[in-house]
């Protein structure tokens, strides 16, 4: 599974992209975030404020309760600020 990060999430983690292989019980975006935060201080810092995180799965914006089972790409980022 490819993970991509943007804006201050990317900066706190220290990379914009990484490949991970989470265990089978990681079924949702929220569980993926918990698993990543438990394994790295950088991820824990980036994900400290859960209500400031947004996500997309395979390019589609989703809630943090969305499934990540069998997906290719999960993006985690702050609320968008374009325009």
């Amino acid at each position: 599974m490819r993970l991509v990060y943007f804006a201050w999430v990317r900066e706190r983690i220290g990379t914009g992209e990484e490949q991970v292989a989470p265990p089978a019980d990681v079924a949702t975006v929220a569980q993926l975030i918990d698993w990543l935060a438990a394994n790295s201080a950088g991820h824990a810092a980036a994900f400290a404020e859960r209500d400031r995180l947004r996500a997309a799965v395979d390019g589609v914006f989703v809630g943090l309760d969305a499934s990540v089972v069998g997906v290719d790409e999960v993006a985690i980022f702050p609320p968008v600020t374009g325009g």
Binding site: V4, F6, A7, W8, A56, G59, F61, A75, F77, P78, P79, V80, T81, G82, G83
Partner: protein
């Protein structure tokens, strides 16, 4: 006719408007966002989610074409570093009649602000900070729900 451009190139307003007008329409409504110089910002940098950004903007314009009787919808968004006075975003909606063009134009820019994966970082001198989403933007987008 949908036109979506996400690019680090400066936005050529004249070319975009002439293209929009070329469809033989009666009404063209546009919105242009410009980097403001008034609060000490020396540079603005726009990050985005390549591929997904274009998909989100295409979905947004398709939604506008479903809601209003339009001849066309254009969204041009600049990415990368830019200076105060430069254009960040240009939105246009064209139609036979003005109400559709005006409403669709407002819809496109309001929804773009909350639905398209762009992130702004402002530089003031040596300091840089990520712009926070504004509650008023969330409210403006919600009025089209």
């Amino acid at each position: 006719m949908i036109r979506i451009i996400v690019s680090p190139e400066p936005i050529d307003l004249t070319a975009e408007i002439e293209r929009a007008e070329a469809a033989g329409v009666g009404a063209v409504a546009t919105f242009t966002g410009i980097v403001r110089a008034d609060d000490g910002v020396g540079e603005l940098e726009l990050e985005h989610y390549p591929g997904v950004t274009e998909r989100a903007l295409t979905g947004l314009t398709q939604e506008a074409l479903r809601r209003w009787s339009l001849a066309g919808a254009t969204v041009v968004h600049r990415v990368g570093p830019m200076r105060p006075g430069e254009r960040i975003v240009f939105v246009a909606a064209t139609a036979a009649h003005r109400a559709a063009a005006l409403e669709a134009c407002a819809f496109l820019i309001d929804r773009l602000k909350t639905e398209a994966p762009f992130w702004k970082r402002e530089r003031r001198g040596d300091e840089a900070h990520w712009v926070e989403q504004r509650e008023t933007d969330v409210g403006a987008a919600a009025r089209w729900d």
